[in-house]
Every structure is written in structure tokens, then in C-alpha cells.
């Protein structure tokens, strides 16, 4: 079982989690990641400029397709009963949930690793772009080198 969804409307992580659990009654372990919109720029809340709003642009068609590719890759690597990835688009405010990732397995190690893998790869592969509004006006968010490094941990050696 898999769910991939790109949606312009609000994302309710609690409702999504309960729906996911209901669909996966036999899984012993469920790992979830929720990304929320931060109200500061960059990596450090102490020094980052305040961010008041965000627009999330995506590549319709490819975004859903690429999330599906990531989910299939996760299912190849781990024993998973169910996987769900939901990503927001459009206008967001600080604290709004941006992304919801869930992985269910009989074994918690599989669920936890798959969930980490999914968010790491999603960050560097899924075609979404954030535009933040600060007191300086709107600007596109730069990709973070730290995300590339984390994503690379999951690359398999080429044959």
C-alpha cells in the first residue's frame, strides 16, 4: 500500500496519522516525520531573519511521479506494509505543516530507517521550491549543502 499526495489545502498531520494507522492495523511499528514551516531564515533561529510567509511552488505531474519513485525505492530497501507521503503547495504561514511522511512495518527498524530515507531523499529530489517572505521581501530559498550530504548517505555504490 502507498499514498502519494500533493495538495494546495491545509495538511492535518493528526488526521493523516490516524487514517494511516487505520489502513495498517497489522504493522507493529509506524514512523512518521512532519516538517513545519519555520519562522526564521537559514539554520539558526537566533540569527536568522524572521520569515512571515512562504509560497511553495512545484512541478505538477513530476512532483507526484518523483514522490512515487522515492516510495518505490523505500519499499525495495525495507520491508514495509504501508508508506504515505503528503506534500503541501501554495501559500503557507509559519507553523503550517509542509510535509507528512509515514512508514509502517512489522519491524520498527525498517519503519524508522525508511522514514528517514524518505525525507532525506525528498528534500533533494522532489521538485518543490520554497519562496520565503522576510522584511527584505520575497526570495527563493537556497538548497542546503547539509541536505545533499544527508541524502548522499543513502546512495548505493555504483556497480
Amino acid at each position: 500500500m502507498t499514498t502519494v499526495r500533493v495538495q494546495a489545502g491545509p495538511l492535518d498531520p493528526g488526521a493523516e496519522l490516524n487514517a494511516f494507522l487505520k489502513d495498517t492495523p497489522h504493522a507493529g511499528g509506524i514512523a512518521v516525520f512532519v516538517g513545519q514551516m519555520r519562522d526564521f531564515k537559514g539554520a539558526d533561529r537566533g540569527t536568522g531573519e524572521r520569515v512571515s510567509a512562504m509560497t511553495l511552488e512545484h512541478y505538477p505531474g513530476m512532483a507526484e511521479r518523483e514522490l512515487g519513485v522515492l516510495v518505490e525505492e523505500a519499499k525495495q530497501r525495507w520491508r514495509l506494509d504501508n508508506v504515505c507521503v503528503i506534500h503541501r503547495t501554495g501559500e503557507l504561514l509559519p507553523s503550517d505543516p509542509i510535509v507528512f511522511v509515514a512508514a509502517a512495518s512489522a519491524h520498527r527498524a525498517d519503519a524508522l530507517e525508511a522514514c528517514t530515507f524518505l525525507i532525506d531523499w525528498l528534500k533533494t529530489k522532489a521538485p518543490f521550491w520554497k519562496k520565503e517572505t522576510t522584511t527584505q521581501g520575497p526570495h527563493w530559498v537556497d538548497a542546503a549543502r547539509a541536505d545533499d550530504i544527508r541524502a548522499a548517505r543513502w546512495e548505493k555504490p555504483a556497480n
Binding site: 512541478y59 518523483e66 528534500k123 521538485p127 521550491w129 527563493w140
Partner: protein, 85 residues
């Protein structure tokens, strides 16, 4: 060869449009060639593709390196590194 070209995020803003259909000459064989050909169209395009190291591309909705042959490609997209999640 008619290709549906899409631009996203900062590339879209610089080009000034989100998508268009183009018919490059046969000499445009790779994604990189297509980028060169587009960049020669106007200062807006030139600005969008000025820093190639920061441009990513997808052919028919799959990430590809710029060296990829266009072949039978119907849809080619250009965009900065992704920042979702």
C-alpha cells in the same frame, strides 16, 4: 522537433514565463544544447541560464544530467536545486 519546455522557481521568474513550446534545429541534440539555444534568444533567457552549475533539468519528468541526449523527449524542464520538504 517540438518540445514542451517548462521553467520553475527562479528560472521561471528570470525567463518571464512558466512554459512554452519550442522547435529547435536538429543541431540541438542534448539538454545542454537546448539550454544554449534558449539562452541565445534574449537577455532574459541568458540571465536565467547564466550560472549553469545551479540549473537542474528533467526530461519527461525524470531528473537527468545536462549532458543527456534529447532523443524523443517531449517535455524538458529547467529549475534550480529543489528545496521542498
Amino acid at each position: 522537433m517540438a518540445i514542451h519546455v517548462l521553467y520553475f522557481a527562479s528560472v521561471k521568474e528570470k525567463v518571464g514565463l512558466g512554459e512554452e513550446h519550442v522547435s529547435p534545429p536538429a543541431s540541438v541534440a542534448t539538454v545542454s544544447d537546448l539550454m544554449d539555444w534558449l539562452a541565445a534568444r534574449s537577455p532574459k533567457y541568458a540571465s536565467a541560464f547564466a550560472n549553469r552549475a545551479t540549473i537542474k533539468s528533467a526530461v519527461d519528468q525524470t531528473h537527468v544530467p545536462l549532458s543527456t541526449a534529447l532523443g524523443e523527449a517531449r517535455e524538458v524542464a529547467f529549475f534550480p536545486p529543489v528545496t521542498g520538504g
